[in-house]
Amino acid sequence: MASKPEPDEKTPLSQVVESNNDDSEEELQGCSGTAPCNPKSCLHRYFPVLVLICFLSFGSYFCYDNPAALQDTMIRELDISEGQFMAFYSFYSWPNVVLCMFGGYLIDRLFGVRLGAIIFGLFVTVGQVIFALGSLFNLYSLMCVGRFVFGIGGESLAVAQNTYAVKWFQGKELNMVFGLQLSFSRVGSTVNMNVMQPLYNYIDQNIHGYKCLGIALFVGAGMCVFSLICAIVLSFFDKRADRVLKRKQISSEEMIKFRDILTFPLSTWLISIICVAYYVAVFPFIGLGLVFFEMKFGLTPTSANAVNSLVYIVSAVASPVFGFLIDKIGKNVFWVIIGIVVTLGCHMMLAFSFINPYVSMVIMGLSYSVLASGLWPMVSLIIPGHQLGTAYGIMQAIQNLGLAVIALVAGIIVDQNGYLILEVFFMAWLCVALIAGVLLYLIDANKGGKLNLSAKARAIEKLKLDAEKSSN
């Protein structure tokens, strides 16, 4: 990062320029002189950079749920079984239990975040094109290959997105940016859910069967191309900012080695445990929620579906807001623990009472937003910048593994023992997350409470650090 006091919204820009003693200051001309194009301007961070970061994964989130949006159509037109259909998701998720860890490592070690984002964006696009071609020629195995390639790109692209976010927003609005990323992923899949079937029906007027399906999927590929373009434009801005702001280049001695993973502090692993233990108590539950809401609370399928998607909808709206608040207040560990406890309460309400599930699911959506926007940025407070890709990759990999395994286990539990036991199972996971959260708090407090600082204290800390640096 730059070795000068970071400009915040209150510091006038000129001051920043003045304090910079470097005389090889680049002259920015034309549009470059205006705030949106000037990397030194805070406006530049929001537009275009933040917008580009948000759209980076839009294509992959849009296409990830293409099969779900067209489930009945796909099963009918491709003449595949329910199990074969579910394989579209398995081919995506299982390889990523391992691959996105390497994706993150490659970003740190080999590609850098710019090239990394473009390469993974390419994988996403090519994967979706293969998937669409498979449908066009009614080749089921080709479609599975497509999902596999798509998966390699998709998860690692998310890692690249996180790395970008930290690079541009660390010490600024990082929590909000993570929240915003989350809502964009939700927007991506919601748009997909609402667009794909009407799109299919529209194309179906002229072309029928699996060919129609293939063409509809090509529209999805179009979204991936759009995200790929975002990756390319973003890499241009990022490179330019590196040059203008004279961001520090990572030397080859500093470059992460694979064994560096072993030197990650304990807090990183606790964060990973919270991540996996919390997420497996929310998403596999949503996957099995429909029947639960219909049968236990007597909702119609339509309202059961609405309740089931509440967590997504609420988190799409609430997570940037909570992210913003956490930016202002700080105390990330505290918020994470609050998120876990409240979610635990929601699961208890669902399991042990007949209280309208709208209530518990809205609260769960809120607590999920608090947790997600508080949890992910913490990694950047512990891990140095040049190892961040790997750290996020590992976290994502552990989370993917957890989700894949627990989704299977949850299915077995509910078939054998019913929803009450399933809920207890999820609550047990939340308790694990809670224990990890409390441990994280204690360990962090022992070390001086870096993670749980209030925003004010964090700012003071930062000023001190910068002052030390400049006095050196």
């Binding site: 049968m295 236990k296 023992n417 036991i421 207890v424 409390v438």
Partner: protein
């Protein structure tokens, strides 16, 4: 539903309150076409050929507290249950009368042999009609469809018109099971080669337990469980759903007639039937269980095999309606073995007769046509119906799954608190030590 039935909510705390003073073990004896061999062969053969099945099961106990079940297809599938107490008597069957069912001349065809026992209570369940309707709005709501669908969207069949196969009966005397099966052309279109069927598979119980198949219902020695299955039948409409019309008739000599009720018991516990949180008890006498029969089911049916959470769909029931002697349903009852057991008292004021529809399906479950299969399990019995309680396994799981982590957090919290306190007190020491030292130097 317009008027909700009485709703009991079982919460975690209220551990089961059902008092079990009923007989726990019974000896069963099963006869098919009982007494038929006493008549000339033509009558017996006629009964078998025209599908007039009668199965008599006597569930006796050592104290002569006996249950007599009569299962019959005559005039439609029906189950009659009689409870006798004082002497060990058997039912006798007059086949000349039984075969006259079409003309409502069947009364008095089933009586007790001498010495006449004391009939404490009798009740019966009759399946009168099979309703098929074109649920174009995918509401799966029978009340709604009755109001909104016109006549052409209905295909209502009297069960008396079906031919029940004597060959498919499969009476098993050791397990006390048998099947009423029909592949009648009433159901199957003439150009149809599919071997569709409708069946009631009965299993008379002699002790307490729980079935291994879903919905894994608890059973007692006072009941008979049955599976109702519509398999491989090509429906009349693309959006066909099915419903059963059921009549329940109850007569006690002891008390004045009491209205029946349908109780819905909710539970948070679905460990035995994943995804099902309710059990429904249609009680003939909700206040006095010793003169009450029950018709119990969980509101779940299965649309394909194997039965599982994925193949489950809902079962709904309508409100109870009275059956008038003048109604069209009355004629259906008059043609069944009910008249043979209840005789003229069937239509007097002491006998309570109620009717309801039980419909299968849930919106968006793909209608009957999705798998061409619907299966439903229910139980008919005497006394207090069995009730699920939260199992020890679940209680242990809950306390382990939630208690252990909470314990860890509490212990961990106390530990770290103590450590913090110690640290704080040890933190003061150097200051004290320093000041003491300074004092010493001053003294010196």
């Amino acid at each position: 539903m317009a008027a909700l039935p009485t709703m009991k909510v079982v919460i975690l705390a209220s551990i089961l309150t059902f008092v079990f003073c009923d007989i726990e073990k019974r000896n069963l004896k099963t006869w098919s076409w009982p007494d038929c061999e006493k008549y000339n062969e033509t009558i017996c053969n006629e009964a078998k050929q025209n599908g007039s099945i009668v199965i008599y099961v006597k569930a006796s106990s050592e104290s002569n507290d006996n249950l007599h079940y009569v299962f019959s297809t005559i005039g439609g599938p029906s189950v009659v249950v009689l409870r006798t107490t004082n002497v060990n008597a058997n039912l006798t069957f007059n086949w000349e009368k039984l075969l006259q069912y079409n003309n409502s001349l069947i009364d008095g065809a089933i009586t007790f042999s001498d010495p006449q026992p004391n009939i404490e209570y009798k009740f019966a369940v009759v399946f009168t009609r099979l309703l098929e309707y074109d649920d174009t709005d995918d509401s799966a709501d029978l009340d709604y469809c009755e109001k909104h669908l016109n006549l052409t969207s209905w295909n209502i069949r009297d069960f008396s018109l079906f031919h029940w196969s004597s060959d498919d009966l499969k009476v098993n005397a050791s397990t006390n099971t048998f099947v009423f099966n029909t592949t009648s052309d009433v159901m199957i279109k003439t150009n149809e080669t599919r071997n569709g069927s409708i069946s009631f598979a009965f299993s008379v119980k002699h002790d307490n337990g729980r079935t291994s198949d879903l919905p894994r219902m608890l059973y007692i020695a006072n009941e008979t469980m049955f599976d109702f299955v519509i398999a491989n039948y090509t429906p009349s409409f693309n959006n066909s759903r099915f419903a059963l019309e059921v009549a329940v008739v109850s007569l006690s000599n002891e008390a004045a007639s009491v209205d029946m009720s349908v109780d819905l018991t909710k539970s948070i516990d679905d460990e035995y039937t994943p995804g099902v949180f309710e059990i429904i008890d249609w009680l003939t006498n909700p206040k006095q269980s010793h003169i009450s029969g029950f018709f119990q089911w969980k509101p779940v049916s299965y649309i394909s095999l194997p039965r599982g959470r994925n193949t489950a769909t809902k079962v709904e029931h309508s409100d109870l309606k009275n059956v008038d002697k003048s109604s069209s349903s009355a004629k259906l009852l008059n043609n069944t073995v009910l008249l043979a057991v209840f005789n003229e008292s069937l239509w007097n004021g002491k006998t309570v007769k109620r009717m309801a529809n039980i419909s299968f399906g849930l919106p968006k479950d793909g209608f009957y046509i999705k798998n061409n299969y619907t299966a439903w399990t229910a139980a008919i019995g005497y006394g207090t119906p069995p009730a699920d309680s939260i199992s020890i396994t679940v209680i242990i799981t809950i306390s382990a799954g939630l208690g252990l982590p909470v314990l860890i957090i509490i212990v961990g919290g106390i530990y770290s608190f103590i450590r913090k306190m110690r640290k704080r007190s040890s933190g003061y020491e150097p200051i004290n030590a320093g000041s003491i030292n300074r004092n010493y130097t001053q003294v010196n």
